[in-house]
Every structure is written in C-alpha cells, then in structure tokens.
C-alpha cells in the first residue's frame, strides 16, 4: 500500500485514506522523508481525516515524521484529526502528537505558508554570513 505524495510547488500534500498497517506506515515515513529531501520541499501537509484509529505507534510515527521533516528543513502541519481520535489520544495520556495541527487542508496550507514566509525572511538575509549557521 503506497500513500501518494502530491507536490504543489514546494509544498507536499499527503492524504492518508486507508487504515495503515505498521509496515505501510513505516514505508510512508520513509517515502515522505525521501521525497522531502529530493524536492527540497519547504512545507508538508498531512491529512489524516480518514484515520479512525491513531494508536500510540501511529501517533509516534506521525510525530517522528514531523521531526524528521523539520530536520531536513520543511515545516509540517497535520490536519483533520477526528474528534474521537483526539479524545482517545488525550485520554491515553501524554503529548502523543508533537506537531502543529489544523482543522483541514485549507487551514493547514495557510499555516504552512505563514510559517514559510516567517522563516523565509530570516533565512534570505543571511547570505553574507561568515559561514556559521545561526539557529534563529
């Protein structure tokens, strides 16, 4: 089961439409991280509207994928978490999803564009630096 990853300029869109096995989920993580690197995407929106179960494994996989994307240089927004999934995740305890979230894809794209614009300002001005990189 391959999850299609769509490219729209320098943004990647992913909509998970089926109940994933652990193997599918790990394949997806691998595909997405590689695609981000290959396309130098600045933002990724992951729509999980169709997931009616997000257990601790899936929650961790989503969070980890978001962290990996950030390490490469892409912003990530998760969208469409079902209300009962949100209730279950919080009841299970701890912060199982450590990524920015949005109601839907449209809002996710707005947030991504905002984050990228914010970041773009600070990175564009650092062309004449001394070769060191600054975190902010």
């Amino acid at each position: 089961m391959k999850i299609p990853i769509l490219q729209l300029g320098r943004i990647l869109l992913v909509s998970i439409q089926v109940d994933l096995t652990d193997t599918d989920a790990m394949q997806f993580q691998n595909d997405l991280v590689n695609k981000i690197a290959a396309t130098e995407a600045l933002g990724v929106a992951i729509d999980i509207t169709a997931l009616d179960v997000v257990d601790s494994f899936m929650a961790r996989l989503i969070s980890d994928t978001a962290s990996m994307a950030r390490l490469l240089g892409a912003e990530v927004v998760i969208c469409g978490i079902q209300p009962y999934v949100a209730m279950t995740l919080v009841e299970m305890g701890r912060d199982l999803i450590g990524a920015d979230c949005a109601f839907n894809l449209e809002q996710a794209l707005k947030i991504l564009n905002g984050l990228i614009a914010l970041r773009g300002d600070s990175t564009l001005n650092s062309g004449d630096d001394d070769g060191r990189s600054y975190p902010f």
Partner: protein
C-alpha cells in the same frame, strides 16, 4: 429489547496486518452492540495497542471480542492472549514511558486509561490481557 448476544469474534494475530483486522473487528462488534463512536474508537485503539504487543513481543496470539451485555447494559469484553515469554514485571510495564521494545511506553498504561476494566495475567508461555467497557443501554437504539 435485544435478548440474543452477538456471537463472539476471534482474530488470530501473527503479523502487523492482523493488528488492523483485530481493531476492525473490535470496532465492528462494538458498533453492533450499540456503543457510540467515542467508545468504538477507544476499543479499537485499545485492541490495536494490545495486538501490537502480541506481534512485537510474542510473535503470535489471538484476540477474542465478546458481547457480554445484560438486559439494560451494553458490555463488551476483549481477551488478547499469547504464548510468548510473558511480562517479567507487570508493575513496571504499566508505567508511562517504560518500554523494553523501543516504543513510547504508552501502550499498556494508555490502554488501561481508555478502558473501564483492565486485567493482565502473565507468566512465561502465557499472557492474557482482558479489557472491558460497559454502558447503560439507551432506549432509542443506535443504527
């Protein structure tokens, strides 16, 4: 009034695709009994956690989903069993953040918080986790 209990369902767990089947079966039986969406999601998630433990730590096992309803109360009981090495220290395994398998350590304690009843019996060669939920039956039946 429903008198007949819905037949139990049993899912054999041997690989990660069975985790999906087990949680699907739990959701479907919970739906048939009349549990609402929130409880269906809690049950499916709990079964997913337990089935994953079977695949990860024991290799294979089974999940039995039982309608244990009585006259005015919907009850579901789920028994997940395996014949793996067992859990050496159950108290430790129930702690948040403890894992011997490189996971978050959120599975067992999280599952206990989702369920009303939760019991583990474990010895080398036999681990059994029993979980359950009970809800008052509303007079208007859900579809």
């Amino acid at each position: 009034m429903m008198d007949a209990l819905i037949p139990s369902r049993r899912v054999t767990i041997t690989d990660s695709s069975d985790i999906v089947r087990a949680r699907g079966a739990a959701r479907s039986l919970a739906t048939d009994i009349g549990f609402g969406l929130a409880d269906q999601t809690r049950l499916a998630t709990a079964v997913s956690e337990l089935a994953r433990n079977v695949v990860q730590y024991a290799g294979s096992g089974s999940c039995e989903i039982i309608d244990a309803s009585v006259a005015d109360e919907m009850r579901i009981r789920i028994v997940v069993e395996d014949s793996g090495p067992g859990i050496p220290d159950i108290d430790l395994a129930m702690q948040d953040g403890y894992s011997t398998g490189g996971s978050l350590g959120a599975g067992l304690p999280g599952t206990r918080r989702l369920m009303e009843s939760f019991a583990i019996e474990s010895a080398p060669g036999q681990t059994r986790v029993t979980i359950g939920l009970a809800r008052q039956r509303h007079h208007q039946e859900r579809r």
